[in-house]
């Protein structure tokens, strides 16, 4: 019999802080967009750096790490090496992120310290995952994706720390080269490959999809991994051909991945378009739009296209992919903790009952409008549209926090 290890499901009190704090960082990141001008959307602008670290470290990484605590036993089919280590990760990641943001805005000498705290949090995470993976006897493509993404994360944070030291004046290094490597290693190598791998498990699980091929995941991960390695090489040796080859490979990788997602979508037995499916549709629509602008940038070298590419990929694709999955993962965790012991003894709620429909849909709608408005602001160089977009994003973020709190506090639905 094929045995799956589920005995090591972490307690809810371990995972809940990741989702609560991640949601607060999400709100902070969109609040930080107020007062932005189009000129601030530059990769070395301190406001931009604050926003991107609040969003990527405080929200994206925090949620992914929390989700991985739950999903690693599911995906790797083994128990955690030491799941208690996750108790140390969220405080370190949260404090380190705040220190870095404060450092960017007011006190650059704080950056290496904040960077070091984040580095410790991520190292704990990476080594916990690597040590857990040692128990895996036979790797499948999804397991390999976890290994590859965490290897990229390891190098990404080393580059990030070097940048923090350089930014604070401790080291004299080529910031541009380090930044390009850091961004590609973390965003392309870690976040994108992790999302690719996990979504190949989660999308079919929730949609009851069967009959699609996972070979496409293999191809898209190979292409993205090659792209990341080539960008890092081209950053230090200034080889234009290699750099553009890497960009093209990354775009092809995402296109192949999109085709895989399309196959999963068309083979699903469950046709209901709930908030999860709608969020994922938005996420992949924004991903496709970002690819169009990425291609336009490669052809025209117009910087606004690059900004729109980055904005749509990070806030549109990552943002909706993560909030969509939160609407599935958090109800499950709460249900598992609070209601599963009552099965057979009392009437228990269904997972869908635990999700507030109005606030989750408000989050999706307001956020989608905000993303589009800021896209237009970047294309037409319009500061007013940035504030309008930020306003919609704030309402979306408030609705998101309300939804998360509702799900976490859900106690109704039991009948004695």
């Amino acid at each position: 019999m094929f045995q799956i290890s589920q005995d090591f499901a972490p307690p809810f009190k371990l995972i809940a802080p990741f989702f609560i704090i991640g949601s607060i960082f999400y709100l902070l990141s969109v609040l930080s967009l107020f007062g932005f001008h189009v000129d601030n959307f530059h990769h070395l602008d301190v406001k931009m750096l604050s926003f991107i670290h609040l969003f990527l470290l405080g929200f994206v990484m925090m949620i992914i790490f929390g989700a991985m605590a739950q999903l690693v036993p599911v995906v790797l089919e083994v128990g955690h090496f030491a799941v208690e280590l996750f108790y140390a990760i969220w405080p370190l990641l949260g404090i380190g992120t705040l220190m870095m943001v404060f450092g960017f805005l007011y006190l650059p000498t704080l950056l290496p310290y904040g960077g070091s705290v984040v580095l410790i949090a991520m190292m704990i995470f990476v080594f916990e995952i690597f040590l857990t993976m040692r128990k895996v006897q036979k790797f499948n493509v999804v397991m390999s994706s976890i290994f590859i993404s965490n290897t990229f994360l390891f190098f990404g944070i080393i580059f990030g720390l070097a940048m923090a030291l350089s930014y604070a004046g401790t080291l004299d290094l080529d910031l541009d080269a380090l930044l390009r490597s850091h961004v590609y290693l973390v965003i392309g190598g870690y976040v994108t490959i992790t999302l690719m791998g996990l979504s190949t498990v989660l999308l079919p699980m929730f949609g009851l999809s069967h009959g699609f091929t996972k070979k496409l995941l293999n191809i898209s991960i190979s292409l993205m991994s090659s792209a990341v390695v080539l960008v890092v090489i081209s950053s230090f040796y200034d080889m234009l051909f290699i750099k553009y080859t890497a960009y093209v490979l990354a775009i092809f990788s995402l296109l192949v991945y999109f085709y895989l997602v399309y196959q999963i979508y068309t083979t699903r037995a469950r046709k209901e378009n709930d908030i999860y499916v709608k969020s994922m549709m938005l996420a992949y629509s924004f991903m496709l739009m970002s690819l169009v602008f990425g291609l336009l940038y490669l052809i025209t070298s117009q910087e606004s296209f690059l900004l729109v590419f980055g904005w749509l990929l990070v806030f549109g694709f990552f943002g909706f992919a993560i909030t969509g999955h939160i609407y599935k993962i958090v109800p499950f965790l709460v249900w598992f903790e609070r209601f599963s012991p009552l099965v057979g003894k009392k009437k228990v709620p269904m997972l869908a009952d635990m999700l507030p429909k109005q606030s989750s849909h408000a989050q999706m709608t307001f956020t989608a409008i905000g993303v589009v408005l800021i896209t237009l602001a970047l294309l037409f160089n319009n500061d007013l549209l940035i504030n309008a977009g930020a306003s919609f994003l704030v309402f979306g973020a408030i609705a998101f926090i309300r939804t998360v709190i509702y799900m976490i506090n859900y106690k109704k639905g039991t009948i004695a």
Binding site: P204, H210, G344
Partner: protein, 117 residues
């Protein structure tokens, strides 16, 4: 004695004097509902077989909609408990198999219709 040996012994001892029929066992297991989709395991087509001998020893063969199901062991336990609640049941073995792989054609018509939107 391991599960496979118990299963073989149980299957060889099945006869017309069985304490419960397959239909009765399926009826008991149909009280187990998947909280994600809202249907019971029997109508989802996840229960492949259930046999009982005259001594009240039961063997349930089932699958799950995905290997990555985070409720794997919990669902297995619920199935076991649902049968154990039947009168005079001595032992229940629940085996999860992956062949044949589950797909939606194994579900009841009304499940297919409801999921199909």
């Amino acid at each position: 004695m391991d599960n496979i040996s118990k299963r073989k012994e149980l299957q060889t001892s099945i006869n017309e004097d069985a304490l419960y029929t397959k239909e009765e066992l399926f009826l008991a297991i149909s009280t187990v509902i998947d909280p994600e989709v809202g249907f019971n395991l029997v109508e989802m087509g996840l229960i492949y077989d259930a046999v009982c001998d005259e001594g009240g020893n039961v063997q349930v063969t089932m699958t799950l909609s995905t290997k990555a199901c985070p409720m794997h062991q919990m669902i297995q336990q619920w199935v076991k408990e649902s049968v154990e609640r039947m009168k005079d049941i001595q032992e229940v073995i629940v085996e999860v198999v992956w062949e044949p792989e589950w797909n939606i054609t194994m579900a009841n018509e009304h499940v297919k219709k409801a999921l199909g939107g």
